[in-house]
Amino acid sequence: MTAATNKRVAGWGVANTLVVLYALFPVWWIAALSFKDPSTLTDGSFIPQKWTWANYRGIFETSEFTRALINSIGIALISTVIAVVLGTMAAYAVARLRFPGKQLLIGMSLLIAMFPPISLVSPLFNIERFLGLFDTWPGLIIPYMTFSLPLAIYTLSAFFREIPWDLEKAAKVDGATPAQAFRLVIAPLAAPGVFTTAILVFIFCWNDFLFAISLTSTTSARTVPAAIAFFTGSSQFQQPTGSIAAAAVVITIPIIVFVLLFQRRIVAGLTSGAVKG
């Protein structure tokens, strides 16, 4: 290796390190905070002086956090499944079929993707109270799946469009009905895209805060991001810092697992529809 290439390697090494540090240090900081003993919580150091699991034990002892965790997982999963199923159906139609009204559907989902959620909070608050959905799982699932539908339709139709047209023609000539062509040829090929979309939708639902604090009032449907904001600490005189940090780390774990396992897919999903214009 020549000196010049050595220098370039070193340069990229520095650049890569900077990017990784940028991405990870706030995460590391809150993780470090969560392992700190209450006595060292305020030392501001990046590495806990005295390691402790006490904060984690603390949050799992009360139902406030465990209940919220169950709510988060349940609500995000159900919303994801519904959004992906409905999104798959619509995206297939958008990408593959000719029918009047398609432009309308595309326009509408684009509009919703741009929609400020706060604009929906006040009417939904009132409507859900009226319908008895306020502070229930469906009360959150409904807005989540609606707001993730455009994301699902958009990402999936980009994936669907990459499946070669001829395959469907071939299936039709081979004797398949349109429904069979979808089930036997397109669906298996679309599975990776559907899976990727599911991850993105899950992250979206998992992340939400505004609906979670607006449309819930008790622990019966409050998700973790909202619950954290209302943490009071295990005793009245204790700052909830340690508990919040521990809870924050717990809900970050699924995200890190997804990212580590499916990095490539997530990148493909995020960028699929966005750049072809």
Binding site: P164, D166, L167, K169, A170, A171, K172, V173, D174, G175, A176, T177, Q180, L184, V185, P188, L189
Partner: protein, 398 residues
């Protein structure tokens, strides 16, 4: 197996564009018919209409005794080979080939038997359990063929099935398709833009231009007796050479000399009330090195300078510039655009002559050439009609 009949088939897109206009074609049972033409001529649209992948705007399409205009592809019992092969990437070769039978709810034993028989014919037996991604281009092409023959359909439809293969493989597959079709005797409609494939494969060739059938006939018939300029220029490689000609005192004067005319042709020209400015066409093999021709043979001789010489071993192609300049009509312009001639920045008009290998022609040197004037075709530049075609010459002849 069945005949396919197209009666007045027309395809008009919703935006008004006319893709195919009034195509009438009777494809006999077991016949191998080629649809050929430059891109955008409507050949693939026609095939897709036969397959049921596109709607027919007007006309009647019959397969066997049934009118199938409004039938879904699955109810037409036809098999199709696509340009991209359209193999299902998530299925093995075996599953790909058996897919149609599976949809038709054939029992497992039958499927296995038919797939394995097709695989044997196509030499795919050892690849049956592989996925398309792990196959070479030629193997994928054979799987696509296999998928079609497994079904034992009433007709094969092939949409440029060889155009994704490299030149050598294409020639091999061409013979294989030809042999396969003869063996199975299944009615086949084959779309290509490659006139060589059209000439070598089909029983009959249909030449299309802008959605209109130009001529239907056996390859040799199209080559010898093209009905118009377009067919004359499209069929044959290298293409027919076209020269300006002026009708003067019962003779045609061209940049290469005055061409004598046979009596029958002269009578036809007189009868048809043709313009004075005409176009004459000669195939490359109508030329020869004058020193190699028996002087008693009729024809004209002239001297040109060789621009480029291509030796193929058996023959020699000599390119020279026609001092008369390029003949231009809408047909010729379209042909030039299709062959990429307009993209090469060629300005002068090149004529190609095919000479025997013994010729002493050298690049940059003058050479005396002989032209067989009996072989010439004469075209009306306005209509493109071949005035020397028997249909015209023999029409109400005495």
């Amino acid at each position: 197996m069945a005949e396919i009949v197209l009666e007045g088939i027309t395809k008009r897109y919703p935006d008004g564009a006319l893709a195919v206009k009034d195509v009438n074609l009777h494809i006999a049972d077991g016949e191998f018919v080629i649809l050929v033409g430059p891109s955008g001529c409507g050949k693939s649209t026609t095939l897709n209409m036969i397959a049921g992948l596109e709607d027919i705007t007007e006309g009647t399409l019959r397969i066997g005794d049934e009118v199938v205009n409004d039938k879904a592809p699955k109810d037409r019992d036809i098999a199709m080979v696509f340009q991209s092969y359209a193999l299902y990437p998530h299925m093995t070769v075996r599953e790909n080939m058996g897919f149609a039978l599976r949809l038709a709810k054939a029992d497992k034993a039958t499927i296995t038997e038919k797939v394995e028989e097709a695989a044997r014919i196509l030499d795919l037996t050892e690849h049956l359990d592989r996925k398309p991604a792990n196959l070479s281009g030629g193997q994928r092409q054979r799987v696509a063929m296999g998928r079609a023959i497994v079904r034992d359909p009433r007709a094969f439809l092939m949409d440029e099935p060889l155009s994704n293969l490299d030149a050598k493989l294409r020639v091999q597959m061409r013979t294989q398709i030809s042999r396969l079709q003869q063996r199975l005797g299944t009615t086949t409609v084959y779309v290509t833009h490659d006139q060589t494939e059209a000439m070598t494969l089909g029983d009959r060739v249909v030449v299309l231009r802008s959605g209109v059938v130009q001529q239907v006939g056996s390859p040799q018939h199209l080559y010898d007796e093209p009905r118009n300029l377009f067919v004359a220029g499209f069929i044959g490689s290298p293409a027919m050479n076209f020269l300006h000609a002026t009708l003067e005192n019962d003779a045609l004067s061209t940049s290469l000399g005055v061409l004598p005319m046979q009596d029958r042709v002269r009578q036809t020209l007189a009868r048809e009330n043709v313009p004075r400015e005409l176009i004459v066409g000669f195939r490359p093999e109508d030329f020869e090195d004058a020193s190699l021709v028996d002087p008693s043979r009729s024809g004209i001789t002239f001297t040109v300078t060789v621009d480029v010489l291509e030796s193929l071993g058996s023959d020699v192609f000599v390119h020279f510039t026609d001092p008369g300049g390029r003949a231009s009509t809408s047909e010729l312009d379209e042909l030039a655009a299709d062959s990429g001639l307009t993209d090469t920045g060629e300005t002068g008009h090149q004529v190609v002559a095919r000479l025997s290998a013994e010729t002493r022609a050298r690049e940059g040197q003058p050479i005396e050439l002989w032209l067989n004037t009996l072989k010439g075709h004469i075209f009306d530049p306005a209509t493109g009609v071949n005035l020397t075609h028997p249909e015209i010459v023999d029409r109400d002849a005495p």
